[in-house]
């Protein structure tokens, strides 16, 4: 039986927009709005969706790097939603995040050995010698030569910097890793190297990934399960092949059909969505997708569709699925 490592229930993260003379809250960006999902030990759940749909905010809130506005976060069966930073400290080392930008996320004035070692220092793990040893081992694990430890980030290529990011995230032996677009900024021929590295490390170290990405080909290759976000909500979740082969939500269908495929002889039926993603400050009433949905009906404006389980492990939120 798969064990649940982490679960979020009706997670909400709203960012207040201040305005007026007194700086009162005049509106909110509903970046994450009643999102629920779980991730089993050792698996990869991918979170896909367009920019601004709330993927990064979901990842950060799940790790309590942002305090949730509502909902619950359960880690290994324990409710951690309202733990104080002090109470979180022992848990922190089990959860790491790796950022999108291999340039901005590393301190340019620190040698890479120190960058990788920093989490060990923060959590006071091991003796000085043990920490140095851990860094050297980790550098080797991710395919960096340990003798480069004295060099600075700017002396490395994008792919190597991403490896530094992986080493830093893994050096304290975490259980859960949030990978926020870890390969988007890399050259095409380097992307496959990093994908392979992430997969190999996952198997070797029994890691659990929340993988945030917009390249759906990579998502198909990496994930066990996939959740699709649109404007702060998860609209569909399913096992990898199930989602790609039988998408049920109109947004998922459009998203998958929009992906260009690298084969000139494949001509795919394409659903071209009209218009842009609306603002998360004032999302449309009812179903958030209705302003672009080719199947929108009167009820879609009035009622928010509920998440229902359509097949075992396959959930979606759309009125078409309950209409019958």
């Amino acid at each position: 039986m798969a064990t649940r490592l982490v679960e979020v229930q009706n997670l909400k993260k709203w960012f207040p927009i201040k305005g007026g003379v007194f700086g009162a809250t005049i509106a909110s960006v509903k970046a994450v709005d009643e999102v629920s999902f779980f991730i089993n030990q050792g698996e990869t759940l991918s979170l896909v969706g367009e920019s601004g749909s709330g993927k990064t905010t979901t990842g950060r809130t799940m790790l309590k790097l942002l305090q949730p506005t509502g909902g619950k976060i359960i880690y290994k069966g324990k409710d951690i939603t309202n733990l104080t930073p002090n109470q979180m400290r022992p848990l922190r080392r089990n959860m790491q995040i790796m950022f999108q930008d291999p340039y901005g996320s590393l301190n340019p004035r620190m040698p890479v050995g120190d960058i990788i070692q920093e989490p060990l220092d923060v959590h006071s793990i091991g003796t000085r010698k043990e920490r140095r040893q851990a860094v050297a081992t980790m550098m080797e694990t991710v395919g960096l030569r340990p003798e480069y430890e004295k060099r600075y980030p700017h002396e490395f290529s994008g792919g190597q910097r991403q490896r530094i990011g992986v080493a830093r995230a893994l050096v304290i032996n975490p259980e859960l890793l949030v990978l926020d677009e870890p390969i988007s900024a890399l050259d095409v021929s380097i992307q496959s190297q990093i994908i392979n590295l992430l997969q190999e490390l996952q198997q070797r170290l029994d890691l659990t990934y929340l993988f945030i990405a917009h390249d759906l080909a990579v998502v198909r290759h990496m994930s066990d399960r996939v959740a699709v976000m649109y404007l702060g909500k998860i609209v569909e979740t399913a096992e990898n092949d199930e989602l790609f082969d039988h998408p049920l939500h109109p947004y998922t269908q459009a998203l998958l059909s929009a992906v260009p495929v690298p084969d000139p002889e494949v001509k795919r039926e394409r659903i071209i969505l009209q218009g842009d993603v609306p603002s998360p400050v004032n999302p449309p009433s009812g179903c958030h997708f209705r302003t672009r949905c080719p199947y929108a009906m009167p009820i879609c404006k009035e009622q928010e569709p509920l998440v229902i389980e359509v097949a075992p492990g396959h959930t979606a939120a759309c009125h078409l699925l309950t209409k019958k």
């Binding site: 190297q193 690298p262 000139p264 002889e265 842009d276």
Partner: protein
């Protein structure tokens, strides 16, 4: 073969940058031809010289530090590199237009998008302001911008990324160009918006018949859009053939490796590692001797480390720069 008239013929183009840290051979042997009405894809990784090629065609290379040091760019049989600035101004934005990588830097933030397109129109055509405005609204409508009259008086920052890209396309097409160069025009966009823009470009190309040079690092985008594909690596074209040929029987080890390494959206999940290309793109300041791909090439021999291969036509219309091309 292709019996359409050759519109653009680039022969052994070389554009270098002379920087404080040394000489960057950004483009060092680009050969490329584009027929009338043809859609050609130029593909390669960051820094391989795609944008510099486009800017060379437009004669917009910043000098200093850049300089076109060799080669020819024939447009209708006349070498653009021999034209003076005045003559180029007449061609640029008229017979040849370009959509740039960052729409925000190529739209002026202090003018409304309508005024910017109108100005581009009146620069090349003798028409009055009223007519220019009418044509602008028509162009905005053509590229699928809703309520074009209202959008006319909006500023670039009031629009979304996809909308700005449409404005760029409207501006580029307002002169009815014979060649449209699109430099990563959809790269920064979300997939559903990218699909809208590609669909739009495809439709307009059919309707207006211009040739398009699509520059991208995304193999899937060219697979969908281009008839002919040129693969660039470290400043050189390494393979050039029809899209079908490139994807079905790539002959250059780099093309072959690149195609093998990208995960396939249509294939079921496996736990197999991807066949990755080892190593990384060479630094422009330290180009390897011999074939520029040799440090990463599984088929490299002594000869590859010493001599530079020429680009050769292996089968009709299929050009490859390699001493040991992969069997088809």
């Amino acid at each position: 073969m292709d019996n359409r008239e050759v519109l653009v013929d680039i022969k052994n183009l070389r554009t270098f940058f002379y920087t404080e840290d040394g000489v960057v051979p950004a483009v060092d042997g680009i050969d490329l031809s584009i027929h009338r009405g043809e859609v050609v894809g130029l593909v390669g990784e960051s820094g391989c010289g795609k944008s510099v090629t486009a800017l060379s065609i437009m004669r917009l290379i910043p000098n200093p530090p850049g300089k076109i040091i060799g080669g020819e760019i024939f447009f209708h049989g006349k070498d653009l590199l021999k034209k003076n600035e005045e003559e180029m101004r007449m061609i640029r934005g008229d017979k040849i237009s370009m959509i740039f990588q960052e729409p925000m830097t190529s739209l002026n933030p202090v003018y409304t998008v309508g005024d910017q397109i109108s100005e581009a129109i009146t620069l090349h055509q003798k028409i009055d302001d009223v007519e220019a405005k009418r044509r602008t609204v028509e162009m905005l409508h053509l590229v699928g911008i809703p309520e074009p009259e209202r959008r006319y008086s909006q500023y670039p920052h009031e629009m979304s990324g996809g909308m700005r890209q449409r404005v760029m396309i409207a501006m580029a097409l307002s002169s009815n160009p014979e060649l449209l160069i699109s430099d990563e025009a959809t790269t920064a966009l979300d997939v559903t918006i990218q699909a809208q823009i590609l669909d739009l470009m495809r439709g307009l190309q059919k309707k207006l018949g211009m040739a398009i040079l699509i520059i991208t690092h995304n193999l899937a985008v060219v697979a969908e859009m281009a008839e002919t594909i040129a693969i660039a690596y470290a400043g050189k074209i390494v393979e050039n053939a029809s899209a079908k040929e490139i994807f079905k029987s790539p002959r250059h080890p780099y093309t072959y490796g690149l195609l093998a390494s990208i995960p396939k959206f249509t294939e079921k999940k496996t736990n197999e590692p991807l066949p990755a290309i080892e190593g990384m793109v060479p630094s422009p300041y330290h180009m390897p001797k011999g074939c520029r791909f040799n440090p990463r090439c599984p088929f490299a021999t002594e000869k590859c480390r010493e001599e530079e291969p020429e680009i050769l036509e292996l089968t009709p219309g299929h050009l490859v720069r390699c001493f040991h091309p992969i069997e088809s």
